[in-house]
């Protein structure tokens, strides 16, 4: 049983080969980090998983069925920017997905349905640590809070696969550490498979169960156009991380972890 199967996928734009011969099997509930140098096709690969772009050759299966050719609610996404809607409040953003799904003609819901969605949304907002900010617009939130909002918005749809495109790349290191803790907790609690594109190796190894490196194997100028990037490394983390279970090295996240000294002792572990 695999959540995602990628079979001999190639991606070409005209004469330019971007990705060549990518084959991959991703287990359900895995957390895969895609790393690699800029321009090696990580984001293109993520877009193909999302359905925003189609492979030139090969195919991608989700739970054994071919991926539909356009994005849908079974695959959630969080981008580095533009993930949330600037014209909706925090509550409106989190309620947006369920409201669109329930109200097919107006995209709005009323009465009991609306109250149920609102209760779920408020719980989700509290879950990601945004309680109290329900009435604010995204432009009034900090970058870290906007990404928490984007996660909450995506998770409301209970996607089978959550795709993250450098979601924490623009955040300060401190904020990033906080949101890593949240991301890890969400991955443990929500039944989903995560694929994350990042250029931060530390982030990749501290969150993922498996780190996959994309790289061009041929880099001479005359080869650049005709040879794309492919998978050069596929590293399973050890000790293995399993969603919902602790590894032998892991301890509970300390409450009130604002004090960096509390955390200092843990650097160098697999966290």
């Amino acid at each position: 049983m695999t959540a995602l199967t990628v079979e001999r996928v190639w991606k070409e734009y005209g004469d330019q080969i971007v990705l060549e011969n990518i084959s991959l099997e991703v287990a359900p509930r895995a957390f895969v980090a895609l790393v690699g140098p800029s321009g090696c096709g990580k984001t293109t690969f993520l877009r193909m998983l999302l359905g925003q772009e189609q492979p030139t050759r090969g195919r991608i299966l989700l739970d054994g069925a071919p991926l539909p050719p356009e994005p849908g609610p079974d695959r959630g996404v969080v981008y580095q920017r533009y993930s949330v809607f600037p014209h909706l409040t925090v509550l409106g953003n989190v309620m947006f997905g369920p409201e669109l799904r329930a109200g097919r003609s107006l995209g709005r819901t009323f009465g009991a349905t609306r109250r149920r969605i609102e209760d779920e949304a408020r719980a989700m907002i509290a879950e990601v640590g945004l309680a109290g900010a329900e009435a604010k617009y995204p432009a009034q939130l900090s970058g870290g809070m906007q990404q928490r909002l984007a996660l909450a918005q995506a998770l409301m749809m209970k996607p089978r696969v959550l795709l993250l495109d450098e979601p924490f790349g623009a955040l300060d290191p401190g904020i990033r550490a906080d949101i890593h803790v949240l991301m890890k907790r969400l991955w443990n609690e929500v039944p989903m498979t995560v694929v994350m594109v990042t250029h931060d190796l530390r982030e990749a190894f501290s969150l993922a169960t498996r780190v996959i490196a994309f790289e061009r194997t041929r880099n001479r100028p005359e080869e650049l156009e005709r040879y794309g990037a492919t998978i050069t490394k596929d590293i399973a983390l050890w000790p293995p991380r399993v969603a919902g279970q602790r590894t032998m090295f892991e301890v509970d996240t300390l409450p009130g972890r604002d004090d960096p000294a509390l955390f200092a002792g843990e650097s160098g572990t697999a966290r």
């Binding site: 996404v77 809607f85 014209h87 669109l100 009034q140 918005q153 749809m157």
Partner: protein, 272 residues
């Protein structure tokens, strides 16, 4: 301190804002006084007393021939045409602009056509409109629509296209259909921009209105100006021009107020 760093206080700002207006009025008064001294019957720059007299006659006394209060009946006629023209243009812009901005198929079909039509000089079409639609209200409203709608459509479709692609994809992952993306993602985000471009089109709309009224009408602000031009009645023309300008300024402010009230998020920094 460098000039670039000098900022006026609030009182000074107000005074500076009033200054050009005051200078204009003073220049007029001086010019008027000089001309009237040379020739008391001069009609080009009437005195304040004559102007006040005329405003009183136009606005507060019924016209002996028709019994109308001319300034108000002219204003009503012109504003009705203006609202009708801008209203139709806005609806057209919303429908066509969103279709072009949202659907690649409609973009391929309509975008070049709209770009082409928007380059037709509207005033050159005025004779055709008068011939086809007659001299009534329809041709005047049509002129405003032809002049304003293509610009609004293009502006709206451009601002719909300028929305980050990520937002559209994100909405798709939240189960939105094409219709719901248009209704709940794109429409609310382009409405503030539509109001702003409507503000910018108020000037052209008045231009087309007055041009149409000047050629053929039975009432209206532009009609009156061009009617009394024959008698060199500057005492009517000046107040009418000031009144038209005031109407345009008030309209501009009202639309902006509406935008800020209805779309508070569009004022926030960072929200596009």
């Amino acid at each position: 301190m460098r000039w670039i760093n000098r900022r006026p206080s609030r009182g000074a700002t107000l005074a500076l804002q009033c200054l050009p207006f005051a200078l204009l009025i003073i220049a007029y008064l001086i010019g008027s006084a000089i001309r009237l001294e040379a020739n008391p019957n001069d009609k080009l720059l009437p005195s304040l007393a004559t102007l006040a007299d005329t405003v009183n006659r136009m606005a507060f006394q019924p016209d002996p021939r028709t019994g109308d209060y001319l300034l108000w009946s002219d204003t009503a006629a012109s504003l009705w045409r203006l609202f009708a023209g801008l209203g139709i243009s806005t609806v057209l812009a919303l429908v066509v602009g969103l279709l072009i901005g949202l659907l690649p198929l409609m973009r391929a079909t309509l975008a070049p056509f709209v770009a082409f039509v928007s380059m037709v000089p509207p005033l050159a079409l005025l004779p055709i409109l008068f011939i086809v639609m007659g001299l009534g209200e329809a041709s005047k409203i049509a002129l405003i629509v032809i002049g304003v709608a293509p610009i609004l459509i293009r502006d709206l479709s451009l601002s719909a296209l300028a929305l980050p692609r990520e937002q559209i994809v994100k909405a798709e992952t939240l189960s939105a259909s094409t219709w719901l993306i248009g209704l709940r993602v794109v429409l609310p985000q382009v409405l503030p921009r539509l109001l702003t471009s409507l503000r910018l089109q108020l000037g052209p709309a008045f231009l087309f209105l007055i041009a149409a009224e000047a050629i053929s009408a039975e009432s209206g602000l532009g009609y009156r100006i061009f009617l009394v031009r024959r008698y060199l009645s500057m005492d009517v023309i000046f107040p009418y021009v000031a009144w038209i300008t005031l109407l345009a300024v008030v309209g501009d402010r009202l639309i902006d107020l509406l935008r800020r009230r209805a779309f508070p998020w569009s004022e926030l920094e960072g929200a596009r």
